[in-house]
Symmetry: C2
Subunit: 281 residues, 2 copies
Amino acid sequence: MPPETDHSQPVTIACIQFEPKIGEVDANLDAIEIRVRQARANGAQLIVLPELADSGYVFDSAEELAQLAQPIPDGQSAQRLIALATELEVYIVSGLAEVAGATFYNSAMLCGPEGYIGTYRKMHLWYRENLFFEKGDLGLPVFATPLGKIGIAICYDGWFPETFRQLAMKGAEVICVPTNWVPMPDQDPQAEVMSNILHKAAAHSNGLFIACADRVGTERGQPFIGQSLIIDATGWPLAGPASREDDDILYATITPADVSTKRHLNEFNDILGDRRSDVYG
Amino acid sequence: MPPETDHSQPVTIACIQFEPKIGEVDANLDAIEIRVRQARANGAQLIVLPELADSGYVFDSAEELAQLAQPIPDGQSAQRLIALATELEVYIVSGLAEVAGATFYNSAMLCGPEGYIGTYRKMHLWYRENLFFEKGDLGLPVFATPLGKIGIAICYDGWFPETFRQLAMKGAEVICVPTNWVPMPDQDPQAEVMSNILHKAAAHSNGLFIACADRVGTERGQPFIGQSLIIDATGWPLAGPASREDDDILYATITPADVSTKRHLNEFNDILGDRRSDVYG
């Protein structure tokens, strides 16, 4: 067990940006292990990996997904991450392709020194994900850990302001975002990417720390945009954006309990307390 | 009456950025009239003015506000704007200090060629506004006009993602934002201001056109930040940001009905239809 901590203690977060290869689960887990060990050696206590980090993203068929997806926490991918987390005494959030019975989910698992902690299943499915996965049926859980209260959102979930609002209202302090961001229409190549804009706005509007770990590379013709980002609860970047094309590990040290002071904007305003629940629930 | 139009027709919006002077209602209305005539001459069909454009913002006392605030639509400020709108055959949204009985609201009025259309009262009050105004009690109305369906939000309302989400779900196509943005803590002077980030995210997440008219200048020690902005329903700027310090008029031509195509991201995704109302209402 790690030394006991609490959410008023600083936490060093790492976001690992890399290129999973479609179908190469063993090689992807090897790539993850190398980077998790490196991030831990550099002081990370909470490590975020991309969406579908074990399987890759662009499935040709449901049959292909079925060969790659595994149960959580009993499958090979989850077990290997749990073994790493317990050995290294570190918390890990990773996107994984999950099978549960005959149903497939685009999921993320949280594990730590104490082993398996919990799973989030992506609620908002993007584009052809709808052909392969079911929409998440676990709501938006918040996991109380010794580091702080952790929520998870995956990629297109971040297009829905309700995701972050619900997590904030349920007490989350840090949102881990495993993602596979793709280019958005009409993006000016010189401008900040919309995915970063959305998450900065979400962090600022909710007083949440947000750690986004994206992938890079082009898979079966689908490009991904990198630019992983760790955002302060004020909405300003703490680390990143990472590069558009290369492997990277971002680091930032935060204090989860700071969300309460950052949400208290002045003697009159508190950004959750000022909600007009009488009007919009 | 203007020639009949419908919301599939292009609409030219103007956002007027200027410096209202605290307490000088007549001079402020003169300044507004000059700029409204100019914007109309340049083709504007919908003109947005800043928050509290008739009164100024930093009140010393409730007594001072009581001397400045007027009923809507029967007071001098509203009547002068209505006369302008009918004469020029143009739609105008302006922030106004409103008194209703013994109650004060930080309001915005919409008027057009047909006269008075409606009022919105700011729902989320910022800082010392809480000393002078009551929170808005009219919800988030959407006004059906010949130009399109118009919603209104004022300044700090934009910090609440629910504002734009509710307006989008109620059918709004164009959100007019009279505002008096102030500097936010920890703003990097080289970075895009958070107010612009928030409204770009809101436009993108909801498929809404958003037209923000800010003020400039420093009033009784309170600086304002300008940088008015007109945003496409994709989230990308159509005009602006305007300067941080100077008068300006931004123009952009939009087609309100385009929101439905812009919300339909691909054959699987519609950004309002993809909401998980089963989870978050």
